[in-house]
C-alpha cells in the first residue's frame, strides 16, 4: 500500500488522539457512575489535563506540517496520486477537523471553556430556583462568544450555519428551516387529530416498581437486543447516556424512576442504539475517520431506531411482552398486548422535551431551533427569551409552562455553549424513518421476524448500510446512498400518520 512517512506519522497521531479521547471517555463515565462523590476536584483536574493534551496534539505545528505535506490546504485534496480510497477519505476528514480546530485561537478556546464551565454550574442553580435572571448574563455572554465563533469559522448565509456544522456538517440553516417547516405543519395537524380522539389510559405504567426489580428488568431487556455483552455494559447514572471507548468497549447507563419502569427500558433501547452504532464501526480502522460516527444526527437516527421504530412497535412487543408480563405480573398480568402497546405510545403535549412522545418530540426541537436562530442573529434578546418560549409553546404544543425551570431553563445545552446541537435530535428521527422505509422494502417480512424475537438481522442491515462506512460519506451522501433520496420529512410523517391513526383510531 502507498504509505509515505508523513501519512504513517499522521495515522499514528490520529490514533494517539483517539486513545487520549478514549481515556477521557472513561474519566467521564466513571464520574457519572462509580466515582466517590468527594472526588470531583481531582477529577476536574484529570479531565482538564487530558483535554489540554488532546487540544495540543490536535493543533500542534507537527500536525499541521504533516497535513501540509499530504493535502492541499483549503480543498483537502491529496497532493500525491496513489492513495487508496480510504486514505483519501482520512486525509479529507483530517484536513476538515484540523482547519476547524486550528481556526479557533487558544485564548478563545480557553475563555469559552471557562465561561461555559461556570455557566453550567450557574444554570443548575438557576433551574433549581427557577431564576432566569441569574442565568441571563451568562447566556448573553455565551451567545456573544458563539457569534464570535461563527465569525471565526466563517459562513455565507446565516451565522447559525457555522454552529450547525459542528454537529451536522452537511446542513444549512435554510435547509433545516425548510424541512422543519414541513415537519411542523404535519405534526401540528397530527396532534390536532389525536387531541380530538379519545385519550389512552396508561395509569398501569406508572405503578411503583422497586429499584432491584427494575435493574434486573433492564439487564434482561438489554440481553434481548443484538448487542455483544463481551464488549458492552449497563450501569446506573443520574441521566442516561452512552459512551464508547472503542468498538470493543461500549458503555450505556440508565436511570430508575420508581413510577416509570418503561422510561428505564426506553432509555436502555435508546442508549443501546447509540452503542450498536459505535460497536458497528470498523475496528480495523479504529483511530481514524473511517471508524468515526458521521454526525450527531446519524447517531441519533440509530438510537431512535431502537427506542422508537423497534422499541415502541407492536412486532417487538409481540416477541417480548410475555416476558415483561412475567417479570411484572401484578402490574401487567391482566393487560393485553394491544392495550400495553397503545399505552406506551400515548401522545400528550407536555413541557419537558426529554419526556415527550414521538409526535410532540420534534415540536420541542423545532421550538429550540427557531429560538436559537433568532438569538444568534440578534433578532431575539436574552431578556425576551422566557416570553418567546411561552408563546412558541402555546403555538406549537398548545400548553404553556408556569415556570422557566419547566420552560427555557430545562436543557443544559445552552449553558455548555452547544448552539446548533438541538436540530440533530429531530433530524435523527427523520433519518431513521427514511432509513427504515428502505429497510422495510429490503425485508418485507421484518415485522414477522421481529415478532419472533429475531433482531440480529436488523442490526446487521444497519451495520452494513450505515455503521461500517464511518465518515466515508457525509449524512447527505449516506442517506442518498442508502435510500436513493435526499433527506426529507416525508418518511417520518407518513410513519407517524399510519401508526397514530391506528392507535388513536382516526
Amino acid at each position: 500500500m502507498f504509505m509515505p512517512d508523513a501519512y504513517k506519522e499522521l495515522l499514528e497521531l490520529s490514533k494517539e488522539i483517539h486513545t487520549y479521547n478514549s481515556v477521557l471517555s472513561l474519566l467521564h463515565w466513571d464520574q457519572e457512575t462509580y466515582m466517590p462523590s468527594g472526588a470531583i476536584t481531582p477529577r476536574s483536574e484529570q479531565i482538564a489535563l487530558m483535554s489540554s493534551l488532546v487540544h495540543e496534539h490536535k493543533t500542534s505545528r507537527k500536525h499541521k506540517a504533516l497535513l501540509q505535506k499530504l493535502v492541499h490546504f483549503g480543498s483537502g485534496k491529496p497532493k500525491h496520486k496513489g492513495f487508496s480510497r480510504s486514505q483519501v477519505v482520512c486525509l479529507r476528514e483530517w484536513h476538515r477537523d484540523f482547519l476547524r480546530f486550528d481556526k479557533l485561537p487558544a485564548s478563545f478556546v480557553k475563555n469559552f471553556s471557562q465561561i461555559t464551565s461556570e455557566a453550567s454550574q450557574i444554570w443548575s442553580v438557576a433551574k433549581k430556583s427557577n431564576n432566569f435572571k441569574l442565568f441571563a448574563p451568562f447566556l448573553k455572554k455565551i451567545i456573544e462568544l458563539s457569534k464570535e465563533k461563527a465569525a471565526i469559522w466563517g459562513f455565507t448565509d446565516h451565522p447559525y450555519d457555522a454552529l450547525l456544522e459542528s454537529y451536522e456538517p452537511c446542513m444549512t440553516t435554510a435547509r433545516v428551516g425548510t424541512i422543519f417547516q414541513g415537519l411542523r405543519k404535519e405534526l401540528v395537524s397530527l396532534l390536532k387529530n389525536i387531541r380530538e380522539s379519545r385519550q389512552i389510559d396508561d395509569g398501569f405504567l406508572r405503578k411503583k416498581i422497586d429499584q432491584e426489580t427494575q435493574v434486573a428488568l433492564g439487564h434482561s431487556f438489554l440481553s434481548k437486543l443484538p448487542i455483544d455483552s463481551a464488549y458492552s455494559r449497563l450501569d446506573l447514572s443520574a441521566h442516561p447516556f452512552s459512551t464508547a471507548l472503542h468498538p470493543h468497549d461500549s458503555r450505556i447507563t440508565t436511570r430508575i424512576l420508581p413510577s416509570g419502569f418503561m422510561s428505564n427500558l426506553f432509555s436502555i433501547f435508546h442508549e443501546a442504539g447509540h452503542s450498536m452504532y459505535e460497536m458497528g464501526l470498523p475496528t480495523a480502522h479504529w483511530g481514524t475517520p473511517l471508524s468515526e460516527a458521521v454526525s450527531l444526527s446519524i447517531h441519533e437516527s440509530q438510537s431512535r431506531w431502537w427506542e422508537t421504530l423497534i422499541g415502541r412497535s407492536l412486532p417487538f412487543w409481540r416477541a417480548f411482552y410475555p416476558s415483561l408480563q412475567k417479570a411484572l405480573p401484578t402490574q401487567l398480568k391482566k393487560i393485553p398486548l394491544e392495550r400495553f402497546h397503545r399505552a406506551i405510545n400515548r401522545v400528550e403535549p407536555s413541557f419537558i422535551r426529554v419526556e415527550a412522545d414521538e409526535v410532540t418530540y420534534c415540536l420541542h426541537v423545532i421550538l429550540r431551533f427557531e429560538i436559537e436562530k433568532e438569538l444568534i442573529s440578534g433578532s431575539l434578546q436574552v431578556e425576551d427569551l422566557p416570553d418567546a418560549w411561552r408563546a412558541k409553546m402555546k403555538e406549537l404544543l398548545g400548553v404553556v409552562p408556569k415556570t422557566d425551570s419547566e420552560g427555557c431553563l430545562q436543557d443544559i445545552h445552552w449553558s455548555l455553549g452547544d448552539f446548533g446541537y438541538f436540530p440533530t435530535y429531530a433530524l435523527g428521527n427523520l433519518f431513521s424513518a427514511q432509513f427504515f422505509a428502505t429497510f422495510a422494502k429490503k425485508h418485507p417480512d421484518w415485522d414477522k421476524r421481529v415478532a419472533q424475537g429475531d433482531l440480529a438481522f436488523v442490526r446487521d442491515w444497519l451495520k452494513k448500510e450505515i455503521h461500517s462506512w464511518g465518515r466515508t460519506y457525509n449524512s447527505d451522501e449516506l442517506v442518498k446512498k442508502v435510500t436513493g433520496k435526499p433527506l426529507s420529512e416525508a418518511a417520518y410523517c407518513s410513519y407517524l400518520k399510519k401508526k397514530y391513526s391506528e392507535i388513536y383510531n382516526f
Copy 2:
C-alpha cells in the same frame, strides 16, 4: 515563600506526572472491576500510551535541566538557601527518583517491559498447567535483566541491594538477612509449640454463604472502619487490591469465596488499611513527595495493622461480633466470641502464601527472600528452583507441595520482574508491630476503646504519626522517630508469642 521559577515549573511537572499516574490507576482499576471482558486490547493500548507519556515526562531533558538548576546532582542538596524544609524534602526526593529513572536506558526499559509482559502471560499458563519448564526460560531472561538493572543502578555489597531499593529504599540485603534470621528462629520455634498443642476447629467458618449476603456483609463491615465513604468505594475483583487516584478518591476491592466469608472481611480490612494511608496523605501537597507513601513496607504495615493487629484482635470482635452473628445467624448464633476469635486465628502451615496465617506468613516470605538472593547472585540456577523450593518448604514450614503450581509458580511477582518486592511483605508486619507497641503505650486503654467500637482514634494516631509525613522521612527515620528504636523483629515476635500462647494455651 521562596519559590524560584525553576521550582515552580518542577512542582507543576510533578503534579502533571501524578495526574497522569492517577489516570493510569483508573485504567487499571476499571480493568479489574467493570471493563467489558472483550476490551483488553484497547485497554492495553491506553495503558501503554499513558505509561510512555509518564516515562517521557519523568526522564525529559526539561526535567533534568530544572533539577540541575535547583540541586547538586549526586547529593541532592539544594543549590540555594532559602528553601523551606518541605521544599528541601521535595528536591531531595525528586532528585532521587529522577536519577533512578534516568539511569535506565529507554531501550532497556522497553525490553524489560516487553519481556515481563509476555512472561506474565506465560506464567499464567504455566501455573494452570503445572508446567515449570514452560516458564523457566522466561524466568532466566528476567533474572539476567534484573542483574543488568542492578549493575546499572549500582551497589556496594550485593546486587540484590539495588533491587530492594525500588521497594524499600533504606534497606540492604545484609540488614534484611539479619532481621529475617532472628525472625525465622522465633517463628519456627513458635510454630513448633503450636503444632504440639491441640488444633483449633474452624469448620464453622467454612460454611457456604451466598454472594449477595457476603457483599452486604463487606459493605457493612467497611462502614465500621474509620474510612470516609465520600472519598472511597468498595467493589469486587478476581484478586483484592487497593488503589488511590488521590486522597479523595480511594478504591478497594475484595473477592467472594463461597466457603470463606472471613477471607472477604480480612481482605477488606487489609485493603482499607492501604486506603487509609493514602487518604491520610496531606491533600495540600498532593502531586509531590510530601503526599506520597514512604515505601511498600510502610504501606504494608498499614494494611496489616487493620487486617491483623486490629482485625483479628479480641477487642475488635468484642465490639462487632454481635453484628456478625446477627448477619449470619445460621452459622454463628451458637458460637461464642472466644471460640470465634480462636478460629479466625487458627495456625496451620500451608503451601500458599496469600492464605497463610500470622505465624507462618513471614516464613513464606523468608523462603522467597532466600531464594531470590541466590537466583540474583547466581548461586541457584533456575532449573534447580523447584527442588530448592521444596527443600525450603520442608525446612521452614514442614510441608511440601506436590506441584509447582502450589510451589514456586504460585506468585506472579517474578514474571513481572519484581525481584526485591517480597521482603516488604514481612517487613510490613515488623513495622506494624513496632508501631503498635508505641501506640499501645500512648493509648493504654486502646483495647477498651476498640471494644466499644471506637476506631477513629486509632486512625488519627496513624495519620498524625505516619501518614501526614509523606516521604519526609525514610522508613528507617520514621520508625526511629515514632518508636525511638530502629526496626527489629522483637515487637512482632513478642506480639505473636503473647497472642498465640494464649490462643493455643501453651
